[in-house]
Symmetry: C2
């Protein structure tokens, strides 16, 4: 069955000029722009990152690639190719795999990333999708979490919170936005928000050895955050959802003040750019409401094991 | 706990000059020899590829990287870097991860491959390890499954069968052997034996659009095949184990006759090279015993799903 499925994929997966050798060998050979590559990997599991009882397999396949594309966006890297590791449940695995690939290939086309190979397995457990994506760095090296300087503005794309109501499956990885901003403006550091606005901002401050303050009234709180706050029994406020929910897959950028001003005046993207605060010389993460600063806890989604 | 574990790995994982940006960012940046990379991925699951009730986590971690190195060997590619996706059982996951990494880092050191990043997850299911390795192709492009010509000899490294008795965990990926042979001799095609000698030889014939005949009395049957044949209730003969067991992680190469002769005379490796038959102009896979040819079934390990 494994051979049949590989043959099925092989006929359906479009060929890209950068794939010198693709599906059907022990490894793939990819032509890159430079003797350098950006590489990132994400593993998604049924029951954790989505529930196949609630979500179409196409959406799960799309998400599995989209989260990797979002990591490439965080580096301002151009997508080149990916490999797909599947662990399929034995029962229904063939149909599931085909539908996963339909979703995956659709977003692959949008972002011009080749599916260059993979590994297809089965067991009597739930679905696991593991994707590794490679890209070419932007000229100049691209973004990293390190490099934010005290005084830099905290610029974000889009809005935050309540992703569980739909965005976590349907989000657009900010690939082209990141490349455009990096090439057009001076940007010191960047990250994509997977675990939460607070936790991922904290990660920039950790790697950049600085602190940050977020102005509560400037955080772009999504409409979904408001909806979730009225629905949920947890009594979280909309702002809390925006700060701590995660899976927004928006960008946080560290931008020097004059460049930030230019960026906000230009608003060059189809998604809004917002200045939510600034990086500070001393370590520490703060939330400012009116004139009052309180500690902003770097909490968000984390896997638990002991 | 996830953050703690990432910090633990970060301190223990050696730095390699080719890793420009490593663990602790959204993606890694790898310096390559050429604007080209070889990429391969393998997913291993507890209960399928090993059983943690029987096998030390260090051995499982070693195997997860070794199977990827074997795929790079099949292409005669030089290992550069890998990324490691883990799905850990919640209970005992921290200790398990540390021990997996001990085994993984030990073989990574042997083959000078950098661990450049990963993704660490947890759930209430069994362990899954997904590794993607990248390498640099050999000058000239390296090996693929396509390219075997009728008349080429079938040359194999090492011996075959009974891998389940230990070799499947302790095997040496034939990375340096493949690079050396590819650079020193004319080699038309190659593959590593993961699923079985018969099935992986068949894969070369499929991609090379030819056939092959194996001489039964020339197949290097491992000592483990003999042991397994006496132990097992399946009444498989030692030769059957050698042909169909899989997980030998030896190389099958297609070598023109004069070069094969030179190779066998030189015996340049610490592992023996053996000529087990030849590639044929017509499709079909055959086993020759004395003067009699019978069909050699391309059977071996395949994942089942329906």
């Amino acid at each position: 069955m494994e051979l049949q499925l590989i043959e099925y994929f092989r006929q359906r997966i479009p060929r890209y000029p950068c794939v010198r050798l693709g599906i059907g060998d022990d490894a793939a050979i990819i032509d890159l722009d430079l003797p350098q590559c950006v590489i990132t990997t994400d593993v998604l599991m049924d029951g954790i990152d989505f529930r196949l009882t609630e979500v179409a397999p196409e959406a799960a396949g799309r998400k599995a690639l989209a989260v990797n594309l979002s990591d490439l966006a965080a580096m301002a890297a151009s997508p080149k190719a990916c490999v797909v590791g599947l662990v399929l449940p034995e029962k229904g695995g063939m149909d599931l795999a085909k539908r996963l690939y339909d979703g995956l290939l659709s977003i692959a086309r949008d972002f011009q990333i080749a599916v260059a190979g993979g590994d297809t397995n089965s067991w009597d457990g739930p679905l696991v999708i593991s994707i590794t994506a490679i890209g070419s760095p932007s000229p100049g090296g691209g973004l990293s979490r390190a490099g934010a300087l005290p005084g830099d503005r905290i610029i974000v794309t889009g809005d935050f919170g309540g992703s569980i109501l739909g965005k976590h499956l349907a989000f657009t990885p900010r690939v082209w936005e990141a490349i455009y901003l990096y090439r057009t403006y001076e940007v010191h550091a960047g990250i994509d928000v997977s675990d939460s606005l607070a936790l991922d901002l904290w990660r920039i401050t950790q790697e950049s050895r600085c602190g940050a303050v977020v102005h509560a009234d400037r955080v772009p709180v999504s409409e979904a955050s408001h909806r979730l706050a009225t629905q949920s029994k947890s009594r979280m406020k909309p702002l809390d959802h925006a700060l701590y929910d995660g899976e927004d897959f928006e960008l946080i950028l560290a931008v020097p003040p004059a460049e930030a001003e230019r960026m906000l005046r230009d608003q060059p993207l189809s998604v809004p750019l917002t200045d939510i605060g600034e990086f500070l010389p001393e370590r520490g993460l703060w939330l400012e409401k009116g004139k009052k600063r309180t500690a902003l806890e770097p909490k968000g989604y984390q896997h638990k094991f002991f």
